[in-house]
Symmetry: C2
Subunit: 225 residues, 2 copies
């Protein structure tokens, strides 16, 4: 595999730890912290439902709607403003996983250009990166909100390729989500899966090019390639 020039990082879960959301979402759902994966999966599903039926709301708005739905189907009373507060504020102040700052710095030092690509809004990810101390580590931030289509729509990855004027095989997509890597692989990008807690591969598509425990392992693996 050729050495990638550009590393594109997904943001939520890949770089930032969703743990604080577990608490706030759990609180909104009467203590049912176990429902976090169902909420997240519902949000992801409806982001693609909107993409495929020519609708668009921000990831935060879809997350709020998804939380309302989970509450409703579980017989839990929840007001819209309460659902929104449970998601939007904590989402914007998530801490980075412990390996992230060191890992990103090492990747930069090793000559890779770093950009991010997220389903969060442009304003959202700017706030997220400021709060997490990651703002200066990336050359550029991309959000799907300029396209109004969510990952893994192929146009989202192509937007990055076109803007940077690079070929797919020169780019490595790094994500903790099998669905994100399936979309990147479809467009011809190299792919690296980061095994964050509760995340796993999707058995129906080819394995990513790299599977690592964290960004520090990614640095080592790329060096030894």
């Amino acid at each position: 595999m050729p050495r990638p020039k550009i590393i594109v990082c997904d943001v939520n879960e890949t770089l930032l730890d969703l743990a604080p959301l577990k608490k706030s979402v759990g609180k909104a759902l009467n203590g049912r912290e176990d429902l976090l994966p169902l909420w997240f999966s519902t949000m992801l599903h409806y982001s693609l439902v909107e993409t495929l039926s020519d609708n668009y709301h921000s990831f935060g708005e879809i997350g709020t709607a998804a939380l309302m739905m989970v509450a409703k189907t579980q017989g839990i009373d929840l007001e819209y403003e309460e659902a929104k507060a449970a998601i939007v504020t904590p989402l914007r102040s998530l801490p980075p996983h412990p390996d992230v700052v060191e890992g990103l710095k090492a990747l930069k030092q090793n000559g890779y250009r770093l950009v991010s690509l997220t389903n969060s809004s442009a304003v959202g990810v700017e706030t997220q990166f400021k709060n997490a101390g990651l703002i200066d580590l990336f050359e550029k931030r991309y959000s799907i909100d300029s396209l109004k289509k969510f990952k893994p729509h192929p146009d989202t990855y192509r937007m990055v390729l076109n803007d940077l004027d690079v070929q797919p095989e020169e780019v490595l997509m790094v994500a903790a989500h099998a669905w994100d890597l399936a979309g990147a692989e479809n467009v011809g990008l190299q792919t690296a899966f980061v095994k964050r807690p509760g995340k796993t591969l999707y058995p129906n598509v080819p394995k990513p090019d790299y599977v690592v425990s964290d960004l520090k392992e990614l640095v080592r693996v790329l060096k030894n390639q």
Copy 2:
């Protein structure tokens, strides 16, 4: 609203009761019947991930993969063949909800032409309808497997319109899934939501034209229109 000529019924959950799956999926997940909604949501999400990244597996294959993923993230050992057995066999022998046979017969008697449109495979839905005693109630069955794109992709609804040579506004889509109706509405179909247990509307899109408790209520509502 004009009186619809054609009624298009979604199948899983809308006509057929998923309750037997709760048992088999729960058993595969060490008794965790509470994980059924997460499994179903993961399956739906990945059906759209495949659609958006130019992959295709049958709904049963995606359901099996999704069950493997849920097991893995919950730390439960599960073999592929065991996961498959937990889904495919029960999925093909789901009972109809109690209102379905009477409701469909009444719709036919009232002059509506009935067809079905499902994310299940053509072979799958034929077996499902035979086992549920619904096979003779429908003029035609449509599966997304001829397109290899899952609902709510607009092409799935347009396939039905083109094949029957009807206009969107002449058709009423009936489903227990907000995402299915969002896709149908996008293509211009009339929409009816059936409130099956654990199902709820998606707050970010317009309300369906009809919201009913079951098919018998749909019969009454259409008559009084």
